[in-house]
Symmetry: C2
Subunit: 144 residues, 2 copies
Amino acid sequence: MKPGYSHVPADHVAAECSRVAPVLSRIGDKWTVLVVTMLGRGPMRFNALRREIGSISQRMLTLTLRSLERDGLATRTVRPTVPPQVEYALTELGRSLLVPVSAIRDWARAHADAIEQAQRRFDGRCADEAGTAVRAIADQASAS
Amino acid sequence: MKPGYSHVPADHVAAECSRVAPVLSRIGDKWTVLVVTMLGRGPMRFNALRREIGSISQRMLTLTLRSLERDGLATRTVRPTVPPQVEYALTELGRSLLVPVSAIRDWARAHADAIEQAQRRFDGRCADEAGTAVRAIADQASAS
DNA sequence: CGGTATCCACTTGGATACTG
DNA sequence: CAGTATCCAAGTGGATACCG
């Protein structure tokens, strides 16, 4: 067999991705992986998460945690003290997610430099050949 | 493999995620995984990809392929025939990405049912307790 | 065939203010 | 402490039209 290509029937790919895509959209959002990784260290209260992440807004932390709870990846436990304490923890399902996420993290760590170099080469090449045309695609946000 | 928590120092988590998050954002977008998986079967021309994916717009396919090329995950080869033919193929780096992506796919396939059940339970519980309040968070798009 | 360019709807996410 | 509510800026992605 040749170096490399897997032979997946084309018809199955789209069907597969209709199940994978929602999962990736969820964990690919701006905060889910960070929060899940934090909770992977152990249960944590709302403001403890907020402090340790630092840059997250209260709104986004609430939204992220609600999604995790809805998907069965985390639990929310209210203890009726004064002031109230709310503790979040990963479920078994949530902890199992740490495994493939770690695989992605390892891949990212291993190839981050290669990707950055490829990007610089690409941007440099386009600056030579086509002016700033493709740079504009990369940036894409300058004009409104 | 205890059913427990990994002990990652909190300080490292945020630093790690600053490298992982961009990668996840890229492959977590609407089309990248689908296109990469397609190209995992072997090199393909632009409109062949377009046809097999079916639902993707020309614009998004172009944008997705440009990003893959920029990141060094795919190559773009123009053959100066008439009409012109442009073939896309994964690089070695791109094929290596198929490994962790497969891990995510396997996880998604294994737990898709559990997630859907958790969602229905969550939504049902909230309908009982708090009316339609949290349903509104899940839907979130009705009002403008 | 393989793109670009333009316009527009929807979604995401930050800032701020207020509540039990 | 742990949220909720509201407003707003930016990003994402679809539809359409046109180009070499």
